[in-house]
Symmetry: C3
Subunit: 140 residues, 3 copies
Amino acid sequence: MKVHQELIQLRTRGHGSMHDLTPAVAEVVQRSGIRQGTVTVFVIGSTAAVGTIEFEPGLQEDLPRALDRLFPPGQDYAHHQTWHDDNGHSHLQATLLGPSLVVPVEEGRLVLGTWQQVFLVECDTRPRSRRVHLTVQGEP
Amino acid sequence: MKVHQELIQLRTRGHGSMHDLTPAVAEVVQRSGIRQGTVTVFVIGSTAAVGTIEFEPGLQEDLPRALDRLFPPGQDYAHHQTWHDDNGHSHLQATLLGPSLVVPVEEGRLVLGTWQQVFLVECDTRPRSRRVHLTVQGEP
Amino acid sequence: MKVHQELIQLRTRGHGSMHDLTPAVAEVVQRSGIRQGTVTVFVIGSTAAVGTIEFEPGLQEDLPRALDRLFPPGQDYAHHQTWHDDNGHSHLQATLLGPSLVVPVEEGRLVLGTWQQVFLVECDTRPRSRRVHLTVQGEP
């Protein structure tokens, strides 16, 4: 067994912007030479999250809107008192959805459904540069 | 270290049906011959999710009901406009709960609490055939 | 590649108490001698959860408060009828946030943002002794 690690970098478009990471993750898996195992997708930072979704335009609206309904922007979060900040909801949204996702790799390919893609969602209130760390572990 | 991969297949009973995967996952771990490591449980598809819960009849009602309260069926989701579909809530529920779970394996057994089981919840609006992919990684 | 496993034990302060696990996890990673790979953080039991967050006093109030808003204590959960228990909300909060988290390890260090820590949140209604299981996997 072996380990292969790489960073994906991307620029988000601000609060609620969604990004399909599937092609970049698949490319790193291919480059790793690992054919059986897993890839751990981990977003560095506390105001973005990763997961899987059917990556179509409708759900790219629905998910951020639902997150804003569960954790509304502009509320009186205690976080704002600590830093005189405005992104308490961003932190809660990101924590709930989570920073890490593990996807199986079989015969060198990601094991995903046809309508299941790996995404990143920006929960912060402005466009950000994001680093997503990938660890492929398994057998060549 | 080595890798062992298998698929579990099951038939769900429709929206909100919950399934205890623990015995099947434990069996695959045993068959793998791996005694120290992890098992990655990953549901293929974008309208079901996995996690851990005390698998008793009350919570099997409470969890789907709570998910329907957070992401109500029948709302005006943008997803419905893309596909003339009716399961926008199914996608959001599945994405929030997540498709992947990693459980430690020690001395050949799943490391779980006494009242902690591995489950799958069907979030789609009809019974589905589900494939759950397992990757056991570790030392014999 | 190799595997290293350890338990962290801690005492929580009751419902909504949050605990920064980062120093303890980093110490186990260092002791493992593994420099490239992942650490799987898994809380044993069905009424606590782990994740990442900016571990500052404001968010330590905001997260438990938000979880109580999503899954309110004292409601008529079916779980209460099974066990004559009062912690249905604890189970749902813990299941949604999740028991497992995988963090990358590079050059012997956790790959985390500057304001991103590994935490445990107690969702149960009373102080508990908690065991968090760590599995470090990778190359020395």
